[in-house]
Amino acid sequence: MKVKTTVGEHVFDVVDIVLTASLAFVILVPLLSILWSSLSDPVEEMAHKGLMFWPKGFTFSAYSMVFKNKNILTGYRNTLFIVLVGTSLNLLMTLVGAYVLSRKHVFWGRFMTLFVVFTMYFQGGTIPFYLTVKAVHLDGTIWSLIIPAAVNTFNLIVMRTSMAAVPDSLPESAMMDGASHTRILFSIMVPLTQATLAVITLYYAVSHWNSWFNAMIFLRDKSLYPLQLILREILIQDETASMSAGTGNDFSLVSDTIKYATIMVATLPILCVYPFLQRYFVKGVMVGAVKG
């Protein structure tokens, strides 16, 4: 049975739309302002006060300076390497670990689960972690960003839960046919837990892409720096001198538009793919919310 919409409800709907629209506006405006600033002429950008709603004196000059910057290019290359190799290692370790932990009738199974889960609640902390990585001689290499982050316990538990939900009869009948555990893992479990796998793949890849702290404490050689660490130098520590050199412009003048362009170069690839992957990320929140 349909009830007639009252005046009060109409007012409510309008207020709702106005509120959500203004919130979306407030969230979007700083980002758009940075996009327009990055496309503006440095002199006019400098003179402009407040947020930008359209570029002033359209030019790509800041972008060409960013793309000529060696550090950004090597940073991009290093980050791609870390994301690809790191995520592959993550998936391999997480799949194998989750499979073993999801098997019943293993004498040491409970011990293995406890061994892994305990680390979610108690950690040694930054300093002992740093000393450990140093002790195994990974510091100063790009592997210090990959191997110590080989497994994320939370993702491992989520994957285990998903594998434990696969009916026992499937792996059992495969076993009857003589399949090994490795074979069962890759031919039965992986296809059946695809949805969860997609989610944790994204989570691992994003965490590698965003990570900068470990790179800051472990790396000394600038040619190994991932993109985020280069961004920190440019955006936070204000090192743009090398990029604007030889442009004939006053340094402080171009500096700002270079920073805006750098932000865009580092963010646009993500923001372009994000709408297509959004539902996987959202699913991830729900997967995580279900008790592991």
């Binding site: 980002l31 947020l51 892994v116 950690q123 902390g125 300093i127 497994v151 985020q228 955006l235 959004q278």
Partner: protein, 332 residues
């Protein structure tokens, strides 16, 4: 053909035998020693597969836990881990009487509390607003836009904040009529916390609303229909149906948030603070980072870190107990 069949037959036998073994193993008719041997022969492949994971956890998770013992030593890299002398609770005593002890503890709690008061309720309100939207595409669009900041890396987020709030930044200029000095806002101890909290809301309001939105969509539509027939207005529906249905989710999220109080994200603070704002921005984890990795007081900073780990662990433990008690839901 026969060979093939025989092979299949043999395999079947092997698998059946394995099942039998497993059943025997669990039935408890064997002594512990026999059980262990039997279990190892049945599950050998699983144990072998687990070795890399075991080694990883042993080195990179349990290694640092053992390494925490340097908090009770005078560790120096020259002497090495084992040769460094034991000094008991010296570093802990030094920390508790440290001039900065109350400052970093106070800052940690203050930042957490402000986050709890200002950032925590926002996603709930947003979820309520989105849930009441009639148009599907509009609601999708609002969601996509509000989730956006979640996908920007923390370094870039902080870069944006720095850029917008520096001496000639857009936000600094907009706030000029309100009497904000046209100088780098992040150098002003009074403005650090507002910037930290407001940008935090900007980052998380959309993403954190997902969990509430899904709880809202689970509410039975008939409840609302029935309420409307009885003449309940939107406000009445909100307080009598929506909020009571949402309460369990809110309680769990609140408890989890309290459990995380001592883990204030150091990444954002390290990127945003500077010596001018240490008095309001320096928290336990950033202090550990500076003392240990920049000033090389290894043992002292390990002791401070250990204090943080233990307090966090206790907080998570008790809030989890509380959550179990209140809602029957818990982390473990």
């Amino acid at each position: 053909m026969t060979i093939h069949m025989q092979k299949g037959f043999f395999m079947r036998n092997k698998a059946e035998k394995q099942k039998e073994d497993e059943a025997r193993l669990m039935s408890g008719n064997l002594s512990t020693g026999q059980k262990l041997r039997k279990d190892f022969s049945v599950n050998k492949e699983l144990y072998l597969l687990f070795i890399p994971i075991f080694v990883y956890y042993a080195i990179f998770h349990y290694g640092p836990m053992i390494g925490l013992t340097i908090a009770f030593k005078n560790y120096s890299p020259a002497r090495g881990f084992f040769a460094s002398k034991w000094v008991g609770l010296k570093h802990f005593k030094a920390f508790f009487s440290d001039y900065y002890f109350s400052r970093i503890l106070g800052n940690t709690i203050r930042i957490s509390l402000y986050t709890l008061v200002f950032s925590f309720p926002m996603p709930i309100i947003l979820a309520l607003l989105i849930n009441s939207l009639k148009s599907r595409w509009y609601s999708k669009m609002v969601q996509t836009i509000t989730y956006l900041p979640h996908f920007i890396s923390i370094v870039v987020i902080c870069g944006i904040i720095v850029q917008l709030t520096n001496a000639d930044g857009a936000i600094t200029q907009i706030l000029a009529p309100l009497g904000v000095k046209q100088a780098t806002m992040l150098n002003n101890p009074k403005l650090f916390l507002p910037i930290y909290i407001i940008s935090g809301v900007w980052q998380t309001i959309g993403w954190n609303s997902i969990i509430y939105l899904s709880a809202l969509t689970a509410i039975d539509e008939e409840l609302y229909e029935a309420a409307r027939i009885d003449g309940a207005g939107k406000m009445r529906q909100l307080f009598s149906i929506t909020l009571p249905c949402l309460l369990p989710t809110i309680v769990i999220m609140l408890i989890l948030q309290v459990g995380k109080m001592f883990n204030v994200g150091y990444e954002k603070i390290i990127l945003l603070y500077n010596p001018l704002t240490y008095e309001v921005a320096d928290v336990i984890s950033t202090y550990v980072y500076r003392k240990g990795l920049l000033e090389f007081n290894w043992s002292y900073s390990a002791a401070v870190g250990m204090f943080n780990s233990v307090v966090s662990f206790l907080l998570v433990f008790f809030t989890n107990k509380l959550s179990k008690h209140v809602s029957g839901n818990s982390l473990w």
